[in-house]
Amino acid sequence: MLRERIQASNYSFLDKLRSIDYLLILLIIAIGSISVFAIYSTEGGKFSFYTKNHIIRLSVFFSLFLALSFVRVSTWYKNAYLFYIIGLILLLIVLFFGISASGATRWINLYFLNLQPSELMKIAVIICFARYYHRIQSSDIQSYKFLIQPIILLIIPCYLVIQQPDLGTSILIAGSGIAIIWLAGLNIKYFVYSGLLLLVSLPFAISILKPYQKSRILTFFNPDRDPLGAGYQIIQSKIAIGSGGFFGKGFLKGTQSYLEFLPEKHTDFIFTLFSEEFGFLGSIILLFLYILLIYRIINVGLVSRSFFAKLYCFGFATAIFLYVFVNIAMVLGMLPIVGAPLPIMSYGGSSLLSIMLGLSIVMSCKIYNQEQISVY
């Protein structure tokens, strides 16, 4: 065991380069380039503010991703709880000093970037849980003592994020956390019971929701309830996607978006714009790229030795899946409109940063996949 640890720490730089998952990098570059075109299109084919910003962020965060990929996975492991605590502190700062936009307080002004800590929290929860379950014996997992801790760890950030209010991110944080609990091997009955409990308590939960959240959910079930108000986004998004057809309307020719019928086309509805312009074919290709990305991340987990790396990669893959699924299902009108950006594609620094950060940990798992991490 000691020998292996020494081995791992003695990776030569060439070895490290060799073990980089180039396909993963290629996928990131591919999705990133598509996102540049999409953002460029949201500006009506003008190379201006959003496009420039997006390109700068992409290149900065991509370099950051490459750099952080060489950080040892054990370093991530050691600092996992620290990440979580930093995330929590940032969330608390948001609570008291955050800056507001359109009725929500989600950001911290960092001058060069409005940081959205809830986005970072998505990753922090995964690292934190991966570490937590890394050291717990499989025999202890089912015990209440070890179950109650992660639940508390999950409830605190979720609660803070809901307060902002940001239901979407909160659900995504909870989703990734629960995914790791699932992966760690908690008995299925817990999931079944809590699922049932959720169903039963849903009506009560809805009743305490904010009016706008309630209206979004009601609108989801019937968009025509208020076609110019709450249902507008879903209806216009479906029109845009549907009218794209098989080949799409063509690059820069999405009438729904350049005539400003589409809301939030840079962020949550970027897929709508893409799908309008590139049609069914483009959408399926993009979806396929995401599937490949998820597959590659899972693959890293499979070849990793440590539970931490496995749990983290599988958890992060599930989180990516959740982001993609929730976002696309939302713009297709299959889920209520909750703020959820599409990874890499959507314009937004924090979301991009957290995804890149998460990917760099995945890459580090890949590079140091033979590294054993002590349970203690």
Partner: protein, 649 residues
Amino acid sequence: MLNRGRNIEKGRVITRRMFILAAAKILLFAGISSRLYNLQISDREKYEILSDKNRIREWKTPPQRGIIVDNFNKVLASNDRVFQLHLMLDEINDFDLTIFKIKNLIELDNFQVKKLYKKKERLKPWDTLVVSDNLTWEQFSKINLYLHELEGAKPVLSTSRFYPYANDLVHVVGYVGDASPKDLEKTEIKENFVPGLKVGKYGIENSQEKILIGNYGIKRYEVNASGKRISQIDYIKERQGNKVKLTIDIEIQKYAQELLKGKAGSICAMDIYTGEVVAMASSPTYDPNKFTHGINQKDWQEIRNNSLKPLINKSIAGLYSPGSTFKPLVALAALEYGILDPNKTIRCKGHKHPYELYGVKYHCWKKEGHGYMKLRNAIKQSCDIYFYEMARLLGVDKLSIIAKRYGLGTNVLGDLYNDEKNGLVPDTRWKRRELEQSWYLGETVINGIGQGYIQTTPLQLCLMTAQIANGGYKIKPHIIKDDTINYKDVINKIKLDQSNFPLHERNYLDDINVQYYQRMYHKKSNINFVLDAMFGSTNEQYGTSYRSRFDDPKYQFAGKTGTSQVRRITDLDRELDLDTEQIEYKKRDHALYIAFAPYKDPRYAISVIIEHGGSGSKAAAPLASKLIKKIIDRHKLREQFNKGNTSLA
């Protein structure tokens, strides 16, 4: 080692759970893909339409109305250039301010401003509000001067209906105005409507809407979500409505209108072979141009409160007892049914010895009586006594058959005018059905002199005269030039039949459905007898319209006067025997006259009615005489013009 075993177990659990999750992910992605397929492939068309609906907005451009011309292609209703001010509502930020500025510029009053606000409420936020559809040149230039201060204001050069002959034709052509909700129910208007479009309100303008209205144009613009126009995609040009050609001769119409000036009444003139209405004047009249941009209250009240009722088209909507103008038809009926030998002599003994039937006395109009009368003289001098007796012998039912056959009792122009009256030709069945009473012989008697229940319109009398004058042939009266009628053929056909007659005599009396241009009489000699009597009435001494005659055979006409009572004549009236001028206007008799000309080879029939004009011979016949001269003078021109036109067609 235990630890190691546990670790292997834990690794397996994690991997297994991961695969379960992966399976779920694949399922969910499949769900997304199928949804994409649904939206983009199955329902593509639906969403494409919705997307176009989003981005494309149409603005309709109004069509020009078709013009209306007379027989000689003189324009009776045209489209004149007007200056208008439109407001593009989607370009205005502060509507109140804009209206305020416009109000001061073109001096709108508060009432008009209120109206504009009301109008705006009915429009969509991207529609065009027509502030004024008829600006003066000064207003228009002022608007142009301050245009930069008026957001959304658009000075427009447009067209609007103009009637060059204004008052002379309003009862024929009608007028246009803003469409009412009722107008919008008509399909031809509903399909072609554009806000601000004027539609026909009366007459030809109204009934020929389908031809005149044209088709609107469409300007398609791409708009963004806030409704701002981005680019014009498409422009389908509007189509002007088609021309409507009338059979009216505007010169004759004008003259007829002039003859009626200051009087209430009607003059109709018709071609006795072709059935073309050459003139159809009604007096008093009003200016249709005032209605185009909405008539103002003062003018409207003036028209409405005129006691001579300018709004009533007296030629077709005025109902009058035909009075003695009915007599030729009564005589014809009696002869056709063989009721009476025209040589039968009846003595008219004057007011002292009136005609008596079951104790009721029936007077002749002539106080001192006509003396011994035969039928021809009775028509010529319009002896009532002779007709009382003849009507009694004939019976009302036979009379009504002939009267209906010659054009009374049904409207003449079909559905061309929504106010045309059917008139009334009474018979015993009618009375039983409508009044639930049996017929009295006394009613037959007064029916014989065109009084009582019988009601006719001037145009019906004109048609009746025409159909007697053409030798008893049924014609198709019309006022819109009918290309399906070959006029030359029609005339030749009737004339040929006239000359051939004795060869195929048969009983036409029972023939109910007489075809157009076929004979309606039983014996030609009967028609000729009546025509000859009418000649006598005008051209022989003692004839009732002798004073209005022409001796020149070119203009020589034959006619019949009529004086229809508007109330029962009492014994006191008879004693007083007042002149027309001495009687209160409303109680004066209507003066009527029917005629055809020229007597030899007749071509035109006319009817004249002067409401409360007194006697037909004094008030109506002189007008007829003047008009006949005009018509005959223009006949050659008309003939040549029509011939030239048919050869072109």
